[in-house]
Amino acid sequence: MSLQVFVLLSVTGLGLAGVYFLIASGLSLIFGLMDVLNLAHGLFFTVGSYATWWVMTRFGFIGSLGLRFAVALVVAAAMGLAVGWATERFFVRRFYGDHVTQILITLGLSLAGVALIGGWFSYDPRTFPVPELFRQVVVIAGARIPVSRLLILLVSVVLLIALLTFLRRTRHGLIIRAGVENRDMVQAMGIDVAKSFTLVFAIGGLLAAVGGVLGGVFFAGITPEFGLNVLIFAFIVVVIGGLGSVEGTALSAVIVGLTQQFVNFYAGAGVGDLTVVVLLAATLLLRPQGLLGEVAR
């Protein structure tokens, strides 16, 4: 393997890992804290990508593509936050503890979201213009790396640090970390953990929507099923990393992203996807709690 190929595959794999991390981190926290398998999480991702497409194609009055992209990122994040909040507030909240209904409700939301977005924007793949900077390349160790890959990586790392800082340095973060371990005990300390549920859904929606923005750049195109397709890998990332562990999710996203890129390149397209499923199976057999997850209580 030449160094150029290694560097290119590594950076591309890490960029993909960034996209996976953004959708999987919220999913992991939601499951860890609330025991909710949120099948609507892919919808948050798709909302982010279509909000970006909408701003980038309809906000022509903002001449600078760079500024327009920044606006798109903020709008997508806000929409993800709002959709995440609304999902918990109006659909999930009344069914805590009822896993079958939760799965049916969130799956229904997901499918309805795809239909709504497809009906509104059409099912045809869409691309959105990106700032000129994204198309430029930088040469690292002889490899021509698209700047967009590096930016995706940078945004993902910044959001990882922001999320960890929130979880470690704020009282809400402390409650969420404690709740992921033992929700009943948090309540038995007089803390209304349900408020954290809404917050975690909103944060998860925001992160997934930003993931949708970056995913649209990474894959250079979006469809209404975009989030559903990525959600499958996000679940794999969550299980391998350990439910409720943000650090585990980040580590797992890197493993899955790099594995997919390298194996797809050397063994043929699609083999990388199969390999991560094998990784998932191996994790479940050898370390069911995931890389950095806690053994179930």
Partner: protein, 249 residues
């Protein structure tokens, strides 16, 4: 069922439970349970394994659904969720400690600092449990059983509670640590109102003034701890402990 005959006259119990029934799945665990907890006394909830002692505490906290009536501080708790019951002044030290293993000792305590006056009580807690101060940066999951018990107690003591529910504080601890925990409990619960679940009768005898004995999910006996202590037949029949009869084979 014997009539309540606690030592001192206590006209206003902190906790009154009437007709409490609890089911867990198909199992009917508590049957028409009723008792009172007097203020500023330690009441031991005793009984053999599996008679429903922990279930009683979980139901009082609202962590298990129950029927019947629970009055706390003169007000019915009704269907209040757990966090609101606790906010009314019930602190809880669970069986098996249940400290947050991935959080540091300091973070475990910080979770309880939302109570009014908790910051002022923290030095008192660290004085009773100096080990917590020494190990503040250590992950709670890496503490020994005794240290975790002290953390669970310290966390509860930051709460300006009118009633402290303590579930098996010496369970699984080495005898030397049990002595340490008893001393800490005595210091921590002086003048407090406590409902103490304890499998170890010696510990209960050291700490409690009143006793309630559960048998097969029902209150089988209530009275003073001294009365129970002096009645070997009762201890043997209800708790399976006590000196053997002379005429026993």
């Amino acid at each position: 069922m014997s009539e309540l005959s606690l030592g001192d006259p206590t006209p206003e119990p902190v906790l009154t439970v009437q007709g409490m029934d609890v089911h867990r799945g198909e199992a009917h665990i508590l049957h028409d349970v009723g008792f009172e907890v007097a203020p500023n006394r330690v009441t031991a909830l005793l009984g053999r394994n599996g008679v429903g002692k922990t279930t009683t505490l979980l139901a009082l906290l609202g962590l298990l659904p129950s029927t019947g009536r629970v009055d706390f501080d003169g007000v019915p708790l009704g269907d209040l969720p757990t966090h609101q019951r606790v906010q009314r002044g019930i602190a809880y030290v669970p069986e098996d400690r249940e400290v947050f293993a991935q959080l540091s000792v300091e973070e475990n305590l910080r979770l309880a600092l939302h109570w009014p006056g908790a910051a002022e009580r923290l030095p008192m807690v660290l004085e009773i449990f100096p080990e917590l101060d020494k190990r503040s940066a250590q992950k709670a999951g890496s503490l020994s059983g005794g240290q975790q018990q002290m953390l669970a107690l310290g966390r509860a003591l930051l709460h300006p509670a009118k009633l402290l529910l303590i579930d098996e504080p010496t369970k699984g601890l080495a005898p030397i640590i049990i002595t340490e925990v008893i001393a800490a409990l005595r210091a921590a619960t002086a003048d407090a109102t406590v409902l103490l679940v304890e499998q170890n009768l010696r510990v209960a005898e050291e700490l409690a003034t009143d006793a309630i004995v559960l048998d097969e999910g029902q209150v089988a006996w209530r009275g003073s701890m001294a009365e129970l202590q002096s009645d070997d037949d009762r201890k043997r029949s209800l708790l399976g402990v006590g000196r053997a009869r002379r005429d026993a084979p």
